[in-house]
């Protein structure tokens, strides 16, 4: 007579063997991996900085050639900037003029967020996977300590998304990933000039029927460089010195202008 736990283990083993046998012989279990790279891992904000582009490219690696069974393969590329609290204010007409009245603090909102998918978003990744991996924008925004509720709350959250989408900081691009021959893929992202400094994360998710099969992660370091770096640091760390420098520059410019035009008039 076999004991309970042992019988369960035997049953499980049998089920596993059955499952493996049920897999059709002509369709091997998809052992697929994603290999990806970024064209730059370091972005320097210098004096001439006017935004930049990030090119994400890669391949789906498997031990066979792509076939018709690969039609349900999808690629999601996600780039997210550092998160920070955001203050949202809403204007209201008060005594005839428009004044900032209601205010909400969004606890954390990514400073930059771009999602590109190879098909429509939920055709590429299932709701469950989206929830688990927190891919879509609504999962990236954290809004816990909300004072308002219901419609007002939604309106404030929507405002963050709308305003940041308008300024190019939030990008949602269905069909933004180009897949070539079921194997190669690439996506292009525009980072506007007003991005903030920090460590950005890049993620590539390979999905099959909406389920994530493999993932790739990388980081992008965005930092001010050169004169911009120096001036910014000085203004924060040695504010008094920075102020004195600003005045000296202005006085010198004023003196130079005055002398130059006196000389020109002569």
């Amino acid at each position: 007579m076999k004991s309970g736990p042992m019988r369960i283990a035997a049953l499980l083993a049998a089920a596993f063997a059955l499952g493996a046998a049920a897999q059709p012989a002509d369709q091997p279990p998809p052992v697929e991996r994603v290999i990806a790279a970024l064209d730059q891992n370091r972005i320097a904000i210098t004096a001439g900085f006017d935004g930049t582009e990030i090119f994400v490219y890669g391949a789906i690696a498997r031990d066979r050639l792509p076939g018709p069974q690969d039609a349900d393969v999808g690629v999601v590329v996600l780039i997210a900037g550092p998160s920070a609290p955001v203050v949202v204010r809403r204007k209201q007409r008060t005594l005839g003029i428009w004044v900032n009245r209601d205010m909400e603090v969004i606890d954390a909102a990514p400073s930059y967020y771009a999602i590109a998918t190879s098909a429509a978003f939920y055709d590429t990744i299932s709701h469950t996977e989206d929830l688990r991996r927190r891919v879509s924008l609504e999962h990236a925004l954290r809004f816990v300590g909300a004072r308002s509720e219901g419609e007002t709350r939604t309106a404030f959250l929507d405002a963050v998304v709308r305003l940041r989408r308008q300024s190019g900081l939030y990008v949602i691009a269905p069909q933004g990933v180009e897949v070539i021959e079921g194997t190669l893929f690439n996506a292009r992202f525009v980072l506007p000039a007003n991005i903030v400094e920090g460590l950005y994360s890049a993620q590539v998710l390979l999905t099959r029927q909406g389920a994530v099969v493999d993932a790739f992660e990388a980081q992008i370091d965005v930092a001010k460089a050169g004169v911009e770096r120096w001036l910014f640091d000085l203004s924060r760390q040695r504010a008094l010195l920075y102020g004195l420098m600003a005045i000296t520059v202005a006085l010198a410019a004023g003196l130079a202008a005055s002398e130059a035009f006196r000389w020109l008039k002569r």
């Binding site: 609290p85 203050v87 204010r89 428009w98 001036l231 102020g243 202005a250």
Partner: protein, 304 residues
């Protein structure tokens, strides 16, 4: 040609800023005003955060008024003592103004405060100038001589009298101190030199001769704007040197063209034009306060 502003943390067209600085320079050369009252709204309009616009503007005013005061110094049209009394009041006012600015910024009402101040002061000054210049223009047409405004004012009856030799005045120090204080607050919260308030006040309230008014006010403005810059840099960290330098370069070149253009026009006509310009800016700002904005929401970082 794009250039990245390190403190404003945005990229702007350098030529646009040079052009703006130049255009304001032409006006300042033409009318003898700083032009800050026009530049700050324009900077905000092109997307510079108001706090950075106001603080960097103060830095730009140091350069433009310093080059002006040097010219007046050579002509000996600066009343040093009067300038220092005005400055004493101004420093206190500026300190209070920067503190007020930081407070209002935390409340998220900087834009409102700046706009309201502009509408009120541009409205008053522009209106008064308009009335005055129309009256003079009419009188001239009738052939009557322009009114000479001198003599005793209420400023003579207060205590703490000081003799201001260059201004040919023997008056109490209290009115100039109060005027300086008031201008100091304005300079800090509006990013202006305050000449457009101080010059009328010096002429009409203190009774100073017109010859020393501009030099003295420039002297006070240079030092006051320097102090304001320092305070903004220290307390709000909003002075963008790159922005200021672009405006300065455009401004000094523009001012020379303005001065040459100004020599071809008559005083009353100039004042009439300036009054019209001030009133137009005032009307535009007032309209923006009342008109329903396209976007009711705005985002900012906490503490800004």
């Amino acid at each position: 040609m794009q250039i990245y502003l390190p403190i404003a943390e945005m990229s702007v067209n350098a030529l646009l800023l040079l052009g703006l600085g130049g255009a304001i320079g032409v006006l300042s050369g033409l009318f003898g005003v700083g032009g800050g009252f026009l530049l700050t709204p324009l900077l905000i309009f092109i997307g510079i955060p108001p706090a950075v616009a106001v603080a960097s503007q103060a830095n730009q005013i140091v350069a433009s008024s310093f080059s002006g005061v040097l010219a007046h110094w050579r002509r000996k049209t600066v009343d040093l003592k009067m300038g220092l009394v005005l400055l004493a009041g101004g420093l206190v006012g500026s300190y209070f103004g920067v503190w007020l600015f930081a407070l209002v910024r935390a409340l998220g009402q900087v834009e409102l405060m700046v706009s309201l101040c502009y509408v009120v002061f541009l409205g008053i000054v522009g209106g008064l100038m308009m009335v005055e210049s129309v009256r003079t223009l009419r009188k001239r047409r009738r052939g009557a001589p322009a009114a000479v405004r001198r003599g005793h004012t209420w400023a003579h009856r207060l205590p703490m009298k000081i003799r201001f030799r260059e201004s040919k005045l023997y008056i109490s120090a209290i009115p100039p101190l109060v005027i300086g204080l008031f201008v100091g607050v304005l300079a800090a919260i509006m990013g202006v030199g305050g000449g457009f308030v101080m010059i009328p006040a010096m002429i009409y309230l203190l009774g100073m001769p017109t010859s020393v008014v501009i030099g003295t006010s420039l002297f006070q403005i240079t030092l006051l704007a320097g102090f304001t810059t320092l305070l903004h840099a220290q307390q709000n960290q909003t002075v963008d040197v790159v922005l200021a330098v672009l405006l300065i370069v455009g401004g000094v070149i523009g001012a020379q063209f303005g001065a040459q253009l100004g020599a071809k026009l008559r005083g009353e006509q100039l004042r009439f034009l300036l009054a019209a310009l001030v009133l137009v800016v005032c009307a535009k700002l007032a309209f923006d306060l009342v008109a329903t904005p396209d976007e009711l929401f705005s985002l900012s970082r906490p503490g800004q």
